[in-house]
Symmetry: C2
Amino acid sequence: MGKNFLYGQSGGPTSVINASFYGTIKKAYEIGSGKVYGMINGIEGFLKGKEMDMQDFYKSGEYELLKNTPASYLGTCRFKLPNDINDPVFEEIFKRFEKLDIGYVFYNGGNDSMDTTDKLSRYAAKIGSDIKVIGIPKTIDNDLILTDHTPGFGSAAKFVASTIREVVLDTRVYDKSAVTVVEIMGRHAGWLAASAVLARKYSEDNPSLIYVPEVVFSYEKFESDIAKKLEKSKAVVVALSEGVAFADGRLICEDETTQVDSFGHKSLSGSGQILCDFINKRFNIKPRQIEFSLIQRAAAKNASLTDVNEAILAGECAVEAAVKGETAKMVAFKRVSDSPYKMECTLVPAADVCNYEKNIPLEWIDATNSDIKDEYIKYATPLIEGEPELKYENGLPVFAYRK
Amino acid sequence: MGKNFLYGQSGGPTSVINASFYGTIKKAYEIGSGKVYGMINGIEGFLKGKEMDMQDFYKSGEYELLKNTPASYLGTCRFKLPNDINDPVFEEIFKRFEKLDIGYVFYNGGNDSMDTTDKLSRYAAKIGSDIKVIGIPKTIDNDLILTDHTPGFGSAAKFVASTIREVVLDTRVYDKSAVTVVEIMGRHAGWLAASAVLARKYSEDNPSLIYVPEVVFSYEKFESDIAKKLEKSKAVVVALSEGVAFADGRLICEDETTQVDSFGHKSLSGSGQILCDFINKRFNIKPRQIEFSLIQRAAAKNASLTDVNEAILAGECAVEAAVKGETAKMVAFKRVSDSPYKMECTLVPAADVCNYEKNIPLEWIDATNSDIKDEYIKYATPLIEGEPELKYENGLPVFAYRK
């Protein structure tokens, strides 16, 4: 018997993290002879003794559903390993690895998961363990360095662009002025919010204003932007990244004028609502705010087939790399060409990824600071191509889920 | 030359109102020999002299895109004609009809549109005009009487059920308690919110609580419902109709504890946010609210093929009826059988529809008052069947739109 495989999911889910799990399972059973385990709730759950042998799931064919199942099938966690690899928790983890006869560990997530990948590899090196540890990237935020893009981003971008295109049509049906603010995820990077630009059908189309965290926000500029757009068009749609901040670094949602409820609690409303309150006060318009919330990271029908296939590939590449003896690496994507779009998998040191955040190049942001340039469109368009084929039953998609 | 056709859209848009427009255009050119006009922004825009000859749009084939284009292609309005048909506005409208040589008028909308249909027909009768006026139903709320259901409902229900199924998977990924409240449209009827029940994969699955306006809401009952569900499951997902009200008739969003902003303005937040604030106060949990907002009525990819086809049929039936000499009628759907699902078009007097609202039968609501019974599932399932085939370009759906 060969050594066993262990795979875990960490951080916020995406529409395609399970596709990477699918690729990992498939490749591990194909080229390995060991068992395949899944950590339940990531390394945190694993430390509590929770894992799952994937054999029945694989043999029954149910694992095929993972390709189009959003969220984290195995459950996830937000758990940072101690910085000191002499901490006893590492010994504990490796005892569990040994007990399950693990030879290969795969950790699927963003920044923090690459930190975990790096620390586990360093501990393995320290104790002379043969265990290989490979990170598989995942984040709708697209903020990992050393990779052209991350699995999960393309599908979220496709949801954002498609849905804004639909919303734009809806916001112009009445013969009166209307401002709509759409709040989009992405943390401190504007990659996802910028995908709103793909929704435009012609150059003057909505969304006519796009605000990303890469540039500083001010109410004065915002007021003048809105006023200018309202002169040209009755319906104005604004795409707003949740991470947009003022010059002093405060996020819009940390603004002092944030509404409070009658108990004095700070409202849970986000930046979009705050900007709507501002528009309501300054213009004679009742604006509408739309928050894509977690729909944008879970929308299976809006997933990009390119993204699904690349997420599967990332899982497969991770297994191949580990079996070849690679460790302490993250699978990364290298773009070979834009048109026709061609991408290949590479490996980069996990340690080089984990403490950085990748932002949109400033030269891809329009001089007005409220629009995105063609360079971004060229970059992002191939990533949202293609429609996955879901399985349906009674009119609804069928997903894999743990009972 | 035969008489000309005139079609208008009114009220809030849906994913399939343009499919009814498609059916109307197609049938009118097929069986008539006159021109086909579209009112811009409904009867209100028409009164201002705004209409559009559809010939180029038809001949170019672009009208085919209407089948899957959300929102109201022609623009819409909220405009109630005077109750007194002796009001000079009727003379004005009919003068415009005469000028354009209109023989057939189609008005596509909900309750108020049937009111318009009725009044225009009565005025025609009064002045001895030959003009035929037919109403085409449309509303995601599904609250029109004398029809089994309304075009637009099936697609919105499919979006709600699909998206809640995705959200449910996402809300259970962390190993901690989580309450999520999803706010759903539907005005004073619970049809659309009830479609959340279709998302369940097994009987104890989320959404485990569904609140519709047909039953009275109280915080005491809600608190106890949440507490009971949290005992059984860490993740609790609540589907909440925007029209849910207290015993005294106040909507939740009109609750006195509604949060105010720092200027003392009542927040725009809806019922979902108010219930989240309540949960936050009573349980040691930070809840999440998701508002489907206008995405639920514009989601082309989540449209139901059954709904699209029935919306087209409604437009076609309206033209056939008018040409046969019918007037003052609304196209209605009669269900012939549930399994296999079979429906046929009928006509009902528009006057009988316009002043009523159809609610979910109380016997379809569970005795707990926070769940929906199998009778509803049997009713709604056929309406969400089938996936429309959209046209894509650069990864995004292509829609018809007026420049």
